[in-house]
Structure formats: structure tokens, C-alpha cells
Point group: C2
Chain length 376, copies 2
């Protein structure tokens, strides 16, 4: 048994998904993809592995430290295993689909691999399912993607879906307009929501940064605080876009909880506009995230990615299916007819003395007897 136990050992953060859970995951992914597809998002499927130089270009550079590399024996060039599918879909949009009409709506689902898990999220392999809207740089596009991702979660049965909106470009834009440099210590204080630190390190920007910090919270409370701020033009445009997007999301999906964090930028390194994180009620782990970026460094785009490991963790487990044992010698057409009615048929391969006991042993709640379907 020691040898078998060894053979069952998997690297940290990787696991075998067993019956019921594996099928449940596949069904959930199908439902998400159907939801995206119904609104015109067309599925693409990039490879698991591609040249490092294409995988890690532009928006892909954010995942450089998380990519396993192998050498391609054919070209002798290095390849990377994807740690994120968004950069691949963006690559497809600006290369192979450069000539396709805009707005270009793409969706994707697949597995990603990470070099290291985090303490909060030890998984090194998980499924992503997402959508990208390429071409328009508008509040309507920002809102469409956020609403679609959030509604897809709600339709799956996630309770109390919330969108936490961030403006990762706001603070850098503001500091640049005020001709101030963004010191590491100030960035740290903003990240840690340290009001005293922000007041001390913010220099001439301290009052406005402190006001931004005080706006963190429900959108209803944040928007008036932000609206009252005197901001230079580019920072004001970022703030105004947020107000437009919030209004559009409210109109489309009034049931969603919206919060705003105007100073957050962790995890949004490549985002150029409105970004967001998706949560469920009382959930500390993110169900997905997304936002605006430049596809291939050139074309306006916004997208969202759902993380299947955290999504599946909050959904109720799948109901066990109705299984029926089919004794040896049963005409094949009978089993076929049961399957057509939605039964899962489990064929006995040997005769048994007690078919009911055999059904129980095989995890079947029913057995096909001479007089029809019988509970066991």
C-alpha cells in the first residue's frame, strides 16, 4: 500500500478531480460558455503552450514569473505553458482575427498552469472561462463585459454576486498630471488603505488621495465623493467613465452589488481603464476579474475571466445521477429506452444471485427487473 500511496502523490497544488466533481465542472463550464455564446461571444481555443516571446509579450508579461518553460526540440526556441489565457486571446484578436469586424467578441475556456500557488490559493492548475470584447473603448463595452460575467455567475446559482470596480490608472494619471512621482511608500500606503500614511506621504496630492481613500466602499457612497473632487482633466475623465459604467451596470442589472475602490491596483498591472473583481456574498476569494487593457499593446479591449476552482467551490455539489443496473441477458433495446428517458444504465458483465444487492454494490439506486424498474 505504501507503493500505491506513493503513486497517488501529486505535486503540491495539483489534484485529481474524481467522479461527480469532474462532470459537474464540465457542466458548469458548458453553461458559462453557452451564456457567453448567446450574446455573440465566439469561442476560440489557443494552444496550451506557445513561444515565450509571443506568450509573454504585452499583457502577457504580467504572468512571466508564473510560466513553466520548455524548449521546443523543433525550433530550439523556448516555449511557455500558459498561466493565463487572456494574453493568448488578445494575440488572436490582433493577429489572426485582425481583419474581423469590430466590436470583436471572443470567449474561451481552458486550463492554465502556474509555477507557484499562493497561500490563499494553493492551486497550480485551474480552469479559466472568459470573454473579451475587442475594439471599442467605451463605457458601454466596459459595462457589457462586467454585467455578462456577473450575470453568468448569478445564473449558475452564486448568491449575492458583487462587482468591485477599480480604477488602476487613476492614481498614476493624477500624480502625473500633478507632476508628482509615485513613491513606493505611497503606493504601499494606498494598497494597505493606510490613511495616515497617505496623508503623510501624499505631498501636494495628500488631500485628493485621502479623499479617494475615503471613497472606498459601496458605489452609492463612492460616486458622490468622487464627483465632488476637483481633479485635473485626465484624472477627471477616468472618474467620469466610472460614473457612466456604474450607471449602465445599474440599468442592466439592478440586483448586483457594486462597490468601488478608486486606489486599488494590485493584480491590475496591465489594465488601462476600469477594472473589476467579482465576488459572491460572504466570499473572500475572487470568482473572477477583468477590465480594460490594450490588446497587443495597440487595440482597446476589455474582458473578464472566471476562475473555475473558486466558482466551483461556492456552488452546491451536483446531484447524483439516477443509475440503474441492467442484468445480463437484458435486450439492448430496453437499456437504450431507459437511457432515452434520462437514466444512466450500468450493464452487469456477469450474472448475480441477488440483483438488488448487486445494484447497491454498484452504486445504483434501481435495477431493471422482469416487471420493470425496481428500487433497491
Amino acid at each position: 500500500m505504501n507503493e500505491l500511496a506513493n503513486r497517488a502523490l501529486l505535486p503540491a497544488g495539483l489534484r485529481d478531480i474524481l467522479p461527480l466533481d469532474a462532470e459537474h465542472e464540465a457542466n458548469v463550464v458548458s453553461r458559462l460558455m453557452a451564456h457567453f455564446s448567446a450574446q455573440g461571444y465566439e469561442r476560440v481555443k489557443p494552444p496550451l503552450i506557445e513561444f515565450e516571446e509571443t506568450l509573454l509579450a504585452g499583457v502577457g508579461s504580467a504572468s512571466a514569473s508564473q510560466c513553466f518553460r520548455v524548449m521546443d526540440p523543433h525550433s530550439q526556441k523556448m516555449m511557455g505553458v500558459r498561466a493565463d489565457m487572456t494574453p493568448q486571446v488578445a494575440r488572436i484578436a490582433v493577429t489572426r482575427l485582425a481583419g474581423a469586424a469590430r466590436p470583436l467578441r471572443l470567449s474561451y475556456a481552458g486550463q492554465v498552469l502556474l509555477v507557484k500557488g499562493s497561500q490563499l490559493r494553493p492551486e497550480r492548475q485551474f480552469g479559466q472561462a472568459g470573454l473579451e470584447l475587442i475594439g471599442p473603448d467605451s463605457a458601454a463595452a466596459d459595462a457589457e463585459v462586467a454585467v455578462l460575467a456577473a450575470e453568468a455567475l448569478a445564473e449558475l446559482g452564486v448568491a449575492g454576486v458583487s462587482i468591485d470596480l477599480s480604477l488602476p490608472s487613476l492614481v498614476p494619471t493624477l500624480l502625473a498630471e500633478l507632476k508628482l512621482s509615485a513613491e513606493e511608500s505611497l503606493r504601499g500606503s494606498l494598497d494597505h488603505k493606510d490613511a495616515a500614511g497617505v496623508a503623510a506621504q501624499g505631498g501636494a496630492a495628500a488631500p485628493v488621495l485621502s479623499a479617494l481613500l475615503s471613497a472606498v466602499g459601496p458605489a452609492e457612497r463612492a460616486l458622490p465623493i468622487l464627483a465632488a473632487l476637483e481633479l485635473p482633466p485626465a484624472a477627471a475623465a477616468v472618474r467620469d467613465r466610472l460614473a457612466q459604467v456604474v450607471a449602465l451596470i445599474r440599468e442592466a442589472a439592478p440586483e448586483l452589488t457594486l462597490t468601488v475602490d478608486p486606489v486599488e491596483n494590485r493584480g491590475f498591472e496591465y489594465h488601462t481603464g476600469i477594472a473589476f473583481t467579482l465576488f459572491g456574498r460572504n466570499l473572500s476569494s475572487e470568482l473572477g476579474r477583468g477590465g480594460r487593457y490594450l490588446a497587443g499593446g495597440v487595440e482597446p479591449a476589455t474582458g473578464a475571466t472566471l476562475f473555475m476552482d473558486t466558482v466551483l467551490a461556492v456552488l452546491p455539489a451536483a446531484n447524483p445521477p439516477r443509475r440503474i443496473l441492467i442484468p445480463t441477458g437484458t435486450p439492448r433495446a430496453w437499456a437504450q429506452a431507459l437511457r432515452a428517458q434520462g437514466w444512466i444504465t450500468v450493464a452487469a458483465l456477469e450474472t448475480a444471485d441477488d440483483w438488488s444487492a448487486e445494484a447497491k454494490r454498484m452504486g445504483c439506486g434501481h435495477v431493471l427487473a422482469a416487471d420493470g424498474v425496481k428500487n433497491v
Copy 2:
């Protein structure tokens, strides 16, 4: 454009699957898995990557030369990216599911990566969808798996599905019983169906080996030739098992074409009993293969794997979906109602002067006008 062209370049044998094709592939995989699931095969999902020593143990050793390796920074042990899912599913069966009732029926679908493609089949990434039946060593189990895999292909619309049955253990068993060694040159002659070579190199076994060679072809012709041979007991048992499996397949699926090759063993390195390859009418590339082996080196098992790249290549392309453009300002409930009827709705994000022209530009055959759905 040169820079963009470079960015579109993928390693040989890897590709981006684009709209319609990517969704078609996902739908085909779902249908296959539903077919397996309806007959009690429960889905499992092993990780893309695992320790080399577990991935390449036992039946996995056949894919050792095709696995990319990376080091696990956590354990400092080598990991391999799977080139075949069968060994992973067998590992799950004999470790995590060692206590589950037998017969154990498992199914799986996922991507595999190969270090090198072949001339005939340059793909280095493709999807596998398969099933494994673990526990029984019986003709009924052999037949169930072969029939299920073949019927799944037929249900997808593959024309003229045939099962080419092989007996990779027959020649080695026979030679061992006759106390003859299997010379490389003899193996080569058998592999190349070189009757003169077999006659010259077969020694005392030449007559029976020549007879086996002459049996290659349709099952109806092969079985009587094999039945007439005087074989030592172990070889006779292999031959008799074939006859039983053919009879069971015929009974279950009389429409399938069955051929037999009693001397083939290429690609069946780890098989211990009846093995088979699946073809479609006039197709030279394999749609799948399978056969009997020992899971974890200890437990009788048989299984089949379908190769999604070759399966998709023989299926007709998917029908383009019905897309309808939804002009700006349309109440959301109207688009929702169209989606409930099966339409794909494509929301306009900006107003247009000519909605019909805009629909055409966006690849929509219809537009939602004031008086209802309009063809464009």
C-alpha cells in the same frame, strides 16, 4: 505587419482554433462524454502535469519519449506534461479509487501535448476523449468498450465506422510456447506483412505465422482461418477470446465493420489482450484506439481513446448559428426573449445610420427592427 505576423507564429504542430471550430470541438466532446456517461462511465479529471515517476510508470512508459519535462520548484522533483491520459486514469483507478466497486467505469476528456509530431500527424496538441473499464478480464468487457467507442463515433455522424481488432500478445505468446525467440527481423517482416520474410525467418513457427498473416482482413474471413489452426494452449486462448469478442460485438452492433490483424503490435506496446483501432470509411487516419492492459501493472483493464483532431477532421463543419443584431436603445427584455428562443443576440454598442448594413458588417443575418425580426 511583419511584427504582427511574427506574433502570430506558433510552434510547429500547435495552432489557434478559431470561431465556429472551437465551439464545434467543445460540443463534439460534450456529446461523446454524454454518450459514455449514459452507460455509467463516470468522468475524472487528472492534472495536466504530474511527477514524472507516476506519469511514466507502468503503461505510462510508452509515452516517456513524448513528454515535456519541467522541474517543480516546490519539491525540486521532475514533472512531466501528459502525452496520454490513459496512464493517469489507470493511476486514479488503482490508487484513489482502489476501494470503489468493480467493474469501475471511468471516462475523461482533456488536452495532451507531445514533444514531436509525426509526418502523418504533425499535431503536438490534441484532445483525447476516452473511457476505461477496470476490474473484469472478460470478453464482455472487451466488447463493451469497443462497441461504446465505435457507437459514439457513429452517433456523431462518422460514416462507416470500423473496428480493426489486433492481438498484440498472440505472436509473443505463441513463440514463447514454441520456445522460439522473437527475432527483430521476424518482427519486422510481420509488421510489414512480408509473407516471404515470415516464411524464411519463422523457423519452426513459419507455417502457423504464415497462416496468421493470411488471416489479416475482414473478421468473417479471419475467424475460420484462425479457428482451423493448431495452437498451443495459451495462444489458443488468445485466439478464442478474439472469437468471443467478435461474436459479442456483432450481436451488439451488427452494422459495424470488423477487421482482424492477428500479427500487428505497433502502437500496442503495453497491451496484454485484445486491442483495436477505430477508422471511418475511406479514412487512413485513426479516429481512436484502445485495448486490454494492466492498470498500475496489477489490475485487468480495457479502454479506448478517441483523438479529437482526427475525429473533427472527418465530421462536417458546424452550421453557423442564427445571429441577430440588437440596435442600441432596445429594451433588454427583448434581446433576452430572443435568446430564450435560441437566437444569438449581438448588441450594438453605438448607433448606426443603416442597421441592416451594420448587421451584415457584424456577421448577423438578421436585425431586430421596430416591427420585429428582419432579414438583412
